[in-house]
Symmetry: C2
Subunit: 267 residues, 2 copies
DNA sequence: CAGTCAGTTTCATTATTTGAAACTTTGTTT
DNA sequence: AAACAAAGTTTCAAATAATGAAACTGACTG
């Protein structure tokens, strides 16, 4: 089920949030109960507590619970504090303008790809809609790019958690095929999505690596087979890699340079 | 401090998230401890648990904690499930295109205004950056519009919680002034922000009301004194109100019409 | 190398969570 | 309208988990 549901009461309560999120719509208490491993009063109290805490909202009319508005507020802070998004923003703007295609910025979350930002060249506005979305690691350009440059033990763990659902005939549907692909990506420094997730959708992706070689995230340019092909996308490699390098540099020169100065005041 | 920190362990742990969010940057354990009302080992275990749960992330290099990536994922679901944003999106697109100014969609969160979506007519992309942000209720157009049409007891409670900081000379800096203003807004059906929050920034706002008159949110068109004036903004009232009505209608025709059909399967 | 400080672990005490059962409320059927 | 059923809520003793004073570790400092 992904998370470590073993951190006492807090962990259990938080797992209810995932449960509600999984429904994708407001849910009744009974629906949660039917799926839950907790007894009725326990689940009931969790839901109450979370509602008090504005992590869930209750609609008295429909008698349903949905994820609460406090999450939106916290996530805004999370997005600014601990993702590459604020740093990457100007670079992605420039990249998107230069290539005239959809650009994605992603990070790894557990064993999944989490999209952090997006620029849609065609129709300008549309963003929150995508930021926050998750996707599979084994059949997206960004996912494979990040996996390829992850530490072997991390990569192994993540690969072991993939479901290898065959979305299209091109999907790499087993660990062996994926590992071979990752080897290629390591050699080239970039990877493709060859309609592996959705028919007609192709992309090229590069990892964003710190100076020490740690994977910070990944960047991709997406297009359709109607508009271009893999060779066409390959032309974007230089600008993609430059953008990735720029983002990594900014991420480094950040990390609070005046930290020492400020905190040395030793209360 | 806003939240009801009294829901046992879960409530206490969640309050740590707000604490981290308030810093607005990665924090060290000691910094949290200095501000915390919890003893060292207690806070330590909260932070550990939250990190295990991916509600916080730990940077071993800097030895800092920041809000975790799981929040971004959950918030995406929250935003789609329990805000007006997905319903309002097409209407806001149209409104923004029609008026050529910045449009905000907001809801009340506790006693604050929470911006749920934004369309920036000038520079097209920029959104997640704003969605999730909070602002004061007593000196924003959307805040006053929502307050004016809230139930008296709710409004009283919210007004009591306002800080009435005087951002500009125009800021309504006491409850009496605010109540008079709300009365006007109730009569007109819309309200202004007369540079009350930021000099040079003006806006016009209308509430989004359900058929039964409940406040669902608010909508505003923002501009600058350099480009227009209050009379100019007033010209947007019809389209603003039409948009608000349209959103309310869609919000109603939604609420899962096939709920009965689907759930009546009576396990 | 003693001293200080930030972070971590221990463990007996204490308070909270837990869940079976009983109860209330709401809506449905006869 | 009474009887019934389903969904949601409360109770309370037992079981468990949270608590925090104190002691410990390790890293940096002078």
């Amino acid at each position: 089920m992904g998370h470590v549901t073993g951190d006492g009461t807090v962990g259990k309560a938080l797992s209810v949030l995932d449960q509600v999120a999984a429904f994708g719509r407001p849910v009744r208490f009974g629906e949660l109960l039917a799926q839950s491993s907790y007894p009725k009063p326990t689940l009931y109290r969790f839901v109450q507590t979370l509602t008090n805490q504005h992590m869930l909202t209750y609609d008295p009319e429909q008698q349903t619970y949905a994820l609460g508005i406090r999450l939106v507020r916290l996530a805004h802070a999370a997005w600014e504090q601990s993702t590459l998004a604020p740093i990457a923003r100007p670079h992605i703007d420039a990249l998107s303008a230069a290539v005239g295609e959809t650009v994605h910025l992603a990070q790894l979350d557990n064993a999944q790809v989490l999209y952090i930002d997006k620029r849609n060249a065609g129709n300008p506005v549309q963003m929150y809609s995508q930021a926050g979305k998750v996707g599979p690691a084994y059949c997206t350009g960004v996912g494979k790019a990040m996996l390829a440059f992850s530490a072997p033990d991390v990569a192994d763990r993540i690969i072991a958690q993939q479901s290898f659902h065959r979305f299209t005939p091109q999907t790499l549907d087993n660990a062996k095929a994926l590992r071979d692909e990752l080897q290629n990506i390591r050699i080239n420094g970039y990877g493709f999505d060859r309609e592996e997730h959705e028919p007609g959708i192709i992309c090229i992706a590069t990892p964003i690596l710190s100076e020490s070689g740690r994977v910070l995230g990944a960047l991709s340019v997406t297009s359709t087979t109607a508009r271009t092909n893999l060779a066409g996308l390959e032309g974007y490699v230089p600008i993609l890699q430059d953008t990735a390098t720029d983002i990594a540099r900014d991420a480094r020169n950040w990390s609070f340079p005046d930290y020492e100065t400020k905190e040395t005041t030793r209360m």
